[in-house]
Every structure is written in C-alpha cells, then in structure tokens.
C-alpha cells in the first residue's frame, strides 16, 4: 500500500452499537471498567437451542434512530450499521457530508452472515403461506452487501463502495480497504461492520462450529488464555468508523483520533488453529512493515482471543514470533471477553476500543479472565494506565483468515487529556 505513504488515513469518527453500550461513550466506559454483559440468550424462538450464552444488544431502539422507510426493508444487522454510521459521521462532524460533494464519500462494510432474522421471517412466509407472500425486500435485506448499500443510500454517498466478505478478520480488512480507497483519492470512507447473529436460523447455522461455546453458565462460557477456555461466545453489534485523508481532516480542523498505519492479512485454513500461529505472525510482520513500525513501538495488543486452547496458544506464540521478546512484555487485552464476538463486528469494535484506549491512556482489562496460562502480559481485572502511541489489533476467522492492523495515536491527542486535545 504505497499509496498510503503519500496519503495517510485518519480516523475522525467512531460509532458503536455493542452489547455493553449503544453509544461510544457508554461502550468505552464499560470496556474500561471490564463490564461483563454475557448472558443467557433471551431472543424469541431461541430458547430450545443448545447455544445458551451470547452478547445481546439490549435497549437498542432502531425506530428512534432510523427512518421507517429504511427499517422496513432492512435486517437488524443493517439497523446496527446504519445507527453506528450515523453516530460516526456525527462524531466526525460530517453528518451532512453528502451535501457538498456526494462523490467524495464512500462506504465499506464487512459481513459474516447477512440478514438472518429478516430472511427467516420471509422463508417462513414462503413455506407457511406460499411464494406470493414473500416480500420483495427479501431480495436485498438478507444480503451481505445490504449494510453498505443502505448506509450509502441513507447518507446520499456516491463515492466508491464495497463489501468485504473475508470471514471475521474481514472487519480489519475492511478498514484497510477503506484506507486504500482514501489513498486512491476518495476524501472520506464510512467503514465498519455490524452483525446480528442471534435469530433462530442464524444460531442453527453456527451450531456446526466446533469452536462455539455451548456452556450454560455465562461466567464460564468464554475464557480465552485460561485453562478453562471452552470456545467463544457470539455477540450482536459492531462499530463504524469515519476515515479520511489526514491532510483533509487537518484542513477542516477535525479531531484526528488515530491514523491507520499498516495492515496485512493471511489465510491458513478453517479451524487449523495451530497453523494460524504462522499466519497471524506473518500478518503482524506485514502490518508492522507497512506501518514502518518496529516491534518495540507496539504499546498495546488487542488480541483475537478465540477461547479455544490451541487457538489461544497459537496467538500467544505468534506474538513472540513476530515481536520477539517484546511479545511477552507488551500489554495484551481482549475486551471482547465481556461482550462476546460479533463476528466481523468484533475486530472493528476492537479498533474503536484501541483508538479510545490511546486517547485515554488506559489499557482496558480482559473481563472475566483471571488465571492466564500463556506467556503473555494479559491485562486483567482493571484498566492499566499507560502512554499508548501505537496499537496492534488482531483478528482471526473460523474459516481461516488472519489479519493485523496497526494504529497510531492521533497526532492531535495526548494521553489523559483528550478534552484539551485541540490545544496541542
């Protein structure tokens, strides 16, 4: 990505819809405090399924945020995306971005499963009442690309749009794709991922994953890097970022919250967790290379934290493979243990947390994890104050994709002093 060297990409807006908060402020507060919100699944029609524990987004009222014309034709996963995109644009001060130059704004999302709940409803109509009772919006609502399309239509954005379908790590690949899009000349890209995998049909699709935790007790369901690791817990929600050309952001006096510095992705095959060590290490090295970043510069790692013993071991070893001795010293965290993994949404939530962590000078804790059985410095119990200039975010997908993203703190922000950042 040589283009980035000439056109660095800034993150200027963050929007979050997560199980531990449906706005960025609440999300960060929950993450920093290690709030644990995994719970028994309460969604209708899910009670009889062997998947018991998840991170549900509760208290999210789409009708309060999104026009009815968009709601009727979209699934819950797009509701999350539209809400988060709206918040991110507002945060970036670009709510009217399309008014001036619609072609300068693009949209990229990643999606792992599409609109399962909407699709199930229409399929039930198909088999219960007949094909004439299937609504026409079924043709677009279930689709992986739905959120990109609806966010762009709702915002009036006519710049380059895309959808990354590359497994859970696609959340990071989407951010990289957005940065490349900026590098190629688009001023602003709205990028992120949100998922809604907690409908009966979607849950049945996940039951085949050997990595899925079917524990009954929320407190024991998702405990990566411990001897009690028994798989991962799925979640709803995600995050959307506004990325834009760094010079342009400075030009309009926007708060540059972070800079997308480097990315790389590899593929090592479905459920081959031992091999993911090599894949992840390559991804980390590639991302560092692109960022022009030495291993010792990494101040915090947001781990993938699959919660499967072989996968956790592979990740811990990959850190040392790629970072050398620094891999055992750098603070590592996995806030997703408190909220679950919202597939493609999970790594974007981690990017949001990493940006906020750098701004606040706090490494948030890995919720509900205590006895770490790997040679890494996992931050547990409470947030750890630290000056954070550079963050590494990792993600792996169940189908074998691995990705690493390097972020640098916004040039305008100083730790512990975000309120005064504009005076720097």
């Amino acid at each position: 990505m040589s283009a980035r060297a000439t056109r660095p990409t800034a993150i200027t807006g963050i929007g979050v819809v997560a199980p531990n908060g449906t706005d960025t402020e609440t999300y960060w507060k929950s993450v920093k405090e290690g709030l644990f919100v995994l719970d028994r699944i309460t969604r209708e029609g899910c009670g009889h399924l062997p998947l018991r524990v998840a991170g549900e987004v509760r208290g999210f009222d789409p009708a309060a945020l999104i026009e009815e014309t968009f709601l009727v034709q979209t699934d819950r996963f797009s509701h999350f995306a539209m809400a988060a995109a709206g918040a991110a644009l507002k945060d970036a001060g670009l709510s009217d971005a399309a008014a001036d130059s619609p072609y300068s704004v693009g949209v990229v999302t990643a999606a792992g499963s599409g609109g399962g709940e909407f699709g199930q409803r229409e399929l039930q109509r198909l088999w219960g009442q007949g094909p004439r009772f299937v609504g026409p919006y079924q043709s677009i609502a279930w689709f992986y690309a739905a959120s990109t399309g609806q966010v762009s239509i709702r915002g009036g954005f006519k710049g380059p749009c895309g959808v990354v379908a590359s497994d859970e790590a696609g959340g990071l690949d989407a951010v990289a794709h957005a940065a490349r899009t900026v590098g190629r000349g688009t001023d602003v890209v709205v990028v992120g991922a949100a998922e809604a995998p907690l409908a009966p049909y979607s849950m049945v699709c996940q039951l085949g994953y050997p990595e899925l935790s079917t524990a009954e007790d929320p407190a024991r369901a998702y405990r990566p890097f411990t001897a009690a690791a028994c798989g991962f817990v799925p979640a709803e929600g995600g995050a959307v970022l506004v990325v834009e050309d760094l010079d342009r952001a400075r030009g309009r006096a926007a708060a540059v919250r972070a800079v997308v510095a480097g990315h790389a992705a590899t593929f090592t095959g479905a459920s081959r967790w031992e091999r993911s060590r090599e894949g992840l290490a390559h991804a980390i090295s590639g991302a560092l290379d692109e960022a022009g970043c030495a291993p010792e510069e990494i101040d915090v790692v947001f781990a993938d934290a699959m919660g499967v013993p072989e996968a956790d071991r592979a990740e811990a070893l990959a850190l040392t493979d790629a970072l050398g001795p620094h891999g055992t010293r750098v603070p590592v965290t996995a806030p997703k243990t408190g909220i679950g993994r919202s597939y493609c949404g999970a790594p974007v939530l981690d990017v949001a947390a990493a940006v906020l962590a750098m701004e606040q000078g706090q490494v948030p804790p890995t919720s509900n994890v205590f006895d770490v059985c790997h040679d890494i410095d996992l931050v547990t119990s409470a947030a750890r104050p630290a000056e954070l200039r550079t963050a590494l975010v990792l993600s792996r997908g169940l189908m074998g994709s691995n990705a690493a993203l390097v972020l640098r703190r916004g040039p305008g922000a100083a730790p512990h002093d975000k309120e005064n950042a504009h005076e720097q």
Binding site: E67, E68, T69, F70, L71, V72, Q73, R132, F133, G135, P136, Y137, S139, I140
Partner: protein, 239 residues
C-alpha cells in the same frame, strides 16, 4: 369479489409494505405525483402490488408494478377509486357474437389470422410461443401520413377462466398498454369484453384522452367486423 382500492387502503399499504407515512387526502391531492416523491421505491411498490393481489385474490396486470403515481396505480389494478380522478387511459368495449364459444375463442385467439379478422392489421408475426403465452409482432396498414406502426406484444390465454391478458412489450408511444379480454356465454351468444388500460408517453403524438377517443372510435368498428366474420364462419362451417 371487491376490486375497490380506496385511498385509505393505498395509504395503509404504503405504510405497511414500505414504511411510507402518507395521508389519504394527500394521495388524492397529489394523485399525479410520482410514488418516488412519496418516498416509495420500486421494491416497495412491488410489495404493495403483491399484497393487493393476495387480498383481492386476483393477479394484477404484469405491468402493475411499473405504475408511477397513485392515479395510475388505481387504474392498473383495474380497481378505480371512486374519489379519485382517473388520470390514465381506460377503455371498455364489448360485443355479443351469435356463435359457439369454441369458434369465437379459436378465431379471436388465432393471432396469425388477425389480418383476416381485423381490418387494421397488415401483418401478425408470431415470434415465440410458450405454453399459453404468445409473443408476436403486429404491423398496421400505413396511416394517412404513410407511417407504418408496428409493435411487439405478449398475450396469455386462460381458456378455463375465459380471459386473455396482453401487454405491449415494445411500448412505442405508450408508457404502458395492458389489455384484458373477457368472454362470457349469454343467451344471445358469446359476449366479448375488451378492457384497455394505458398511459401515453409525454412526447407521444396524442395524450391519454386523445388515445381514449381513438380506441373508443376504432374498437366498436373492429368488434362489429369480427362479429360479422365469426358469425359468417359459424353459418358456413360444417355442422
């Protein structure tokens, strides 16, 4: 069977199927406003058409989802609202033919022989035939200016229900043209009823009202001619 679509029903459907909130009186006042301006997209319109078909138990013309405004929607659903001004073209013409149903059905649906049945067609060429659906090109005799009009239509016959639905595929000067023929046996013979729903393009040489007049002038002439030719065939046909 009720075939009325009231403005209230249309407004409720727009809300349910497409999330568009609109007052019935607003639909009436803005009957010529494109649906898109009410915030209704093409899939939303398709959903309304589907819901209407399910409620009324009948299929709407295949072009129904292409209607652009509340006014045309009520027309192409063959269910005009009483309160609403009918802005698009709509004609109905019929004739009773003293001949057996089979003969009337066969002769009027033998598209290749239409040049011998109608006086207005110079040629009828069948392009494709699939089941009960035939696609064909009709060519008229030159008009007074020497222009030869020609277009492609698609017709689907339903012998059981005694109906034929047709629409122009090459619409020419028409925005759309949907035709329904209905046959009914009566004591006096077979009654053939033609219903035509259409709208002219803005740049067409005549407007909706003008085309309505043309059709209402021409159809009785053609119907009478067809009646005479079929009745003639009935008397000369071997018993």
């Amino acid at each position: 069977m009720s075939s009325e679509v009231t403005l209230e029903e249309l407004a409720a459907l727009m809300k349910k199927a497409a999330g568009v909130t609109v007052e019935p009186h607003d639909l009436e006042a803005r009957a010529d406003t494109p649906f898109a301006e009410f915030g209704l997209d093409s899939l939303g319109l398709l959903g309304i058409v589907g819901e209407l078909e399910n409620r009324h138990g009948r299929a709407l013309p295949t072009d129904a989802e292409r209607c652009k405004t509340p006014a045309t929607s009520s027309t192409s659903s063959t269910a005009r609202s009483r309160q609403e001004p009918d802005m698009a073209g709509h004609t109905e013409n019929e004739i009773t033919i003293a001949a057996p149903l089979d003969l009337v059905w066969d002769m009027t649906n033998d598209v290749e022989s239409w040049p011998q049945l109608f006086s207005e067609y110079a040629d009828a060429e069948v392009l494709t035939r699939e089941g009960d659906t035939v696609t064909f090109r009709l060519t008229m005799h030159p008009d007074e200016n020497g222009k030869v009009w020609s277009w492609v239509s698609e017709r689907t016959t339903d012998r059981e229900k005694l109906t034929v639905r047709a629409r122009r595929i090459e619409t020419g000067p028409f925005e759309y043209m949907n035709i329904l023929w209905e046959y009914e046996e009566t004591p006096a013979g077979v009654r053939m009823h033609w219903t035509q729903d259409f709208a002219m393009k803005p740049d067409a040489p005549v407007d909706d009202a003008g085309m309505t007049d043309i059709i209402n002038r021409n159809s009785p002439v053609q119907l009478a001619l067809i009646r005479d030719r079929i009745e003639q065939a009935a008397t000369t046909a071997p018993a």
